[in-house]
Symmetry: C2
Subunit: 205 residues, 2 copies
Amino acid sequence: MRDRNTDLRIIRTKESIRDALVELIDEKSFEAITVKDITTRAKINRGTFYAHYQDKFDLMTKCEDEIMLEMSKIAKQNFPGVLTAFETNSPTATLFPIAVLIFEYLNEKSGFMKAVLGPKGDLSFQTRLKDFMWKTLFGNDPGALIKEQNLLVPGQYLASYIASAHIGVIQKWLDSGRKESPQEMARILSTMSINGPFFAAGLKK
Amino acid sequence: MRDRNTDLRIIRTKESIRDALVELIDEKSFEAITVKDITTRAKINRGTFYAHYQDKFDLMTKCEDEIMLEMSKIAKQNFPGVLTAFETNSPTATLFPIAVLIFEYLNEKSGFMKAVLGPKGDLSFQTRLKDFMWKTLFGNDPGALIKEQNLLVPGQYLASYIASAHIGVIQKWLDSGRKESPQEMARILSTMSINGPFFAAGLKK
DNA sequence: TATAATAATGAACAACCTGTCGTTCATTAT
DNA sequence: ATAATGAACGACAGGTTGTTCATTATTATA
């Protein structure tokens, strides 16, 4: 019985394919990349690529799914603690630790994340990431953090606002070389989301 | 001497090319669209397309540039008034009118904007739009709205936060059928940016 | 309205990319 | 040692790209 996941040839091939993808996204946009580009860079036969992936989109989706799964795990493991702490403490104190964990994970996977979230990356991933953020943090019906009746604006716009803003900051952090620590980034995001960006800009109070 | 901009044949051809582009982005992603797709849909010869544009990217860029130019005009015409009013009034009152104008323009060009900002659209346009937003609203050195010394967070992250958040809300508005009026959308964005998204969510105070 | 100007067409082209074959060869189990 | 497995390879047909050119249709203008 052979295991597709332990065959060294497969592991080597898949790794070089994914490394080539990240390298190429830095050089040209994802849409401009051809399967031939990838296989040439990865030094494998083009037919071998099709033995593992349907096309470049399948490759991209599988890379993205791995990332989403990991982030989902981080969120699910720490969300119960957040929910109970939320009763007594301020939103700052409760959401801060989870934000730090996410930034630490992004830091670890920064090569791929920078490529896929960058200006030459994959737009559909951002859409999926926004949906994911909203569902994991605020979508759990029983213990939802946000109640519809408390909203001052329609929920869908609040969701878009927060998710897009956070992804935007993550993009900037990755793109400018990750000079701030995960802790510092979590503080920056908290400041803007809790007090509002205009307050953080010194335009208020 | 004949004018390329008034020849009815050219106007007709260009219009049908751009209409075809918007239609096709609704159906498949921009990267999946071929020049052949566009010319078939526009009912013109493929050679004619190359007489007007270098390739599909050239077409997209030229469409985007027109939009950016118009938005730039709106911003430049109204910015002086905003600056003077800003000394005495609150940020709400001063930035509100300009936001309404922008939403009215987006409403007018909603077909193209929905396509290009949507999940199948063009990622590089979003990047350009963020840069544009920041430069027009906060980048004018002499009378900058935001002073570096007042910031509670690094300026680059503040810029990314606000720009991404606003574009995210615009995307949601376009994607969900533009049910709210431009005035209502301006109010929603102001509420979240001035009091903060957490306050707007009923999570604070 | 007649005419000169020129935009659009259809066809052909080489070059390239795609997805899918059957074949070869290294690895592994017996 | 050897047979079975399946990963990697080379080659194929079909489609797209960007270009060119002679021909046709449409437009602006005198």
